[in-house]
Symmetry: C2
Subunit: 327 residues, 2 copies
Amino acid sequence: MMRRDIQDMVKTLIAKKEDVGGIQHVYFVACGGSLAAFYPTKYLLESESKTLAIGYYTSNEFVQSPPKRLGPNSLVIACSHQGNTPETVEAAKISHGRDASVIVFTYTEDAPLSEYGDETIIYEWGDTSNVAHQKYNIGLRIGFELLHQIEGYEHYEKALSAFENIHDIVVNAKTHVARRAQEFAEKYRHEKLIYVLSSGASYGVAYQESICILLEMQWIHSSSFHSGEFFHGPFEITDSETPFLLLMNEGRTRILDERGLNFLNRYGRKVEVIDSKELGINRLDDAIVEFFNPTLLSNTLDIYNRELANARKHPLTQRRYMWKVAY
Amino acid sequence: MMRRDIQDMVKTLIAKKEDVGGIQHVYFVACGGSLAAFYPTKYLLESESKTLAIGYYTSNEFVQSPPKRLGPNSLVIACSHQGNTPETVEAAKISHGRDASVIVFTYTEDAPLSEYGDETIIYEWGDTSNVAHQKYNIGLRIGFELLHQIEGYEHYEKALSAFENIHDIVVNAKTHVARRAQEFAEKYRHEKLIYVLSSGASYGVAYQESICILLEMQWIHSSSFHSGEFFHGPFEITDSETPFLLLMNEGRTRILDERGLNFLNRYGRKVEVIDSKELGINRLDDAIVEFFNPTLLSNTLDIYNRELANARKHPLTQRRYMWKVAY
């Protein structure tokens, strides 16, 4: 969807709610990687909004234990790549039944999920996609539009121009890391466990890398740690044999990631860093740059993940349970 | 603090804010286990409140990137066991400076954190404490009081009587698991990695067990998974060699934990279950039982953790970095 489309879509959704008191709550509801894709927008709204209550739920918890106030003043944003994740479809259905507005994100035309959406976003995905049209960025785009149209947002124009530039930044970064991704794969191919750290808007990327790539697609043990939480427990596991992948942000929470880096450089030995700043995210304005770290880090990780899978001869598509057995 | 104390404290905090529009946001701010102790109250308010926006932050992220709306309509609830965690003290200071109301939780009299608190809660802790006066439960007690006094809460009286019974339930459960905790320790003492699962109000207990006990105090690799998220990535790591500790809730999200149990019983072999229902949580009313799972599970885990530490000859107090090196 293009700039004008999202603007108009949000305008229409807001207008529909004018008579009942407007949009007061925004709930992000999905599972796994589809949920993590909304993390930057959750972070944006929690940081910047003066009026909205924000919720972030794995779908089945939302289904079993929906917020009491879910209703006409709620906007629910749900995502399923195939558009048929049963608990996410059910969450959208429940939301629809309570007169919430529902935006569904999916990669699949005519998906069951779309049945319960006031609006359906078909996002782009994969190597040849326009980065600004990937789910991370359409989510953010909706977030900025909600801020702008509901309560005014001083950095709105800066955010809009970021969407013009993010594609080129990401494409350049992916080329830039080609060689080091190969070296990473060579170095870590025999590891049984890799931890992932990040902070701020990018914590969701660390989570996704841990649960969707390492655990799910590579059967490598893993956890994600928030860089700020690392020093309140997890860092005691640090030693020369334990691998850490640190995803560094530019912006306000960079200082948290730097603290992690300093410690790991001192007491760890297997430390791999992907740094948004070094990869060129600073072409974006300081006022909004932090919200765009995740899309750069996530796309860059695609290169690392592909190399890791190749080096391990373990295709990213290989599963033992998912879609194969009843669960 | 007793029943009357918390009632009066919340009443006073609300009254102070009457002229500026009341309490509209509640932010939980702490690090590690101190943060996880507030997870049940975050879950309670997100589920039950019709008016409050809720935030849940690791302290340094809150310090670097505070919510724009943090101000006179905010209530900040911060916790530090020793009362001197620098980023938590700083978070309370920032909140105080923006005219938010601040409640601080600590185990330590005259702590630096208390300097920025409108109210200080000295909670009880350890084996001989009154369970209703532990931080988990005082947090919940404040949560129920906020619901009751700000917007009305239909199950308020049921919640109050739960606090009368929770101590006995916990003490009985701890006795009940003594033997199986020893067997657990014997069985898992040589494991290098243990995953922890839970859902609903108890996800924070799984997180705490993973980062504060296994990683920090036992140097055992670990991650926590939300039972609902497990099937969207992590479950692919399941095999006969990987240990899982499943913390089962009574209440609305039990069905998520049961799905995890069914899968793990089928495809895993090292599966340990601690089940709130089997341990007697059902003495509490159905309408509020789920919010009390965490305190039962967390206290019961103390027995398991002590046995594990003994069996491994790795004291729970042993550290290599925390409080020992600069970080």
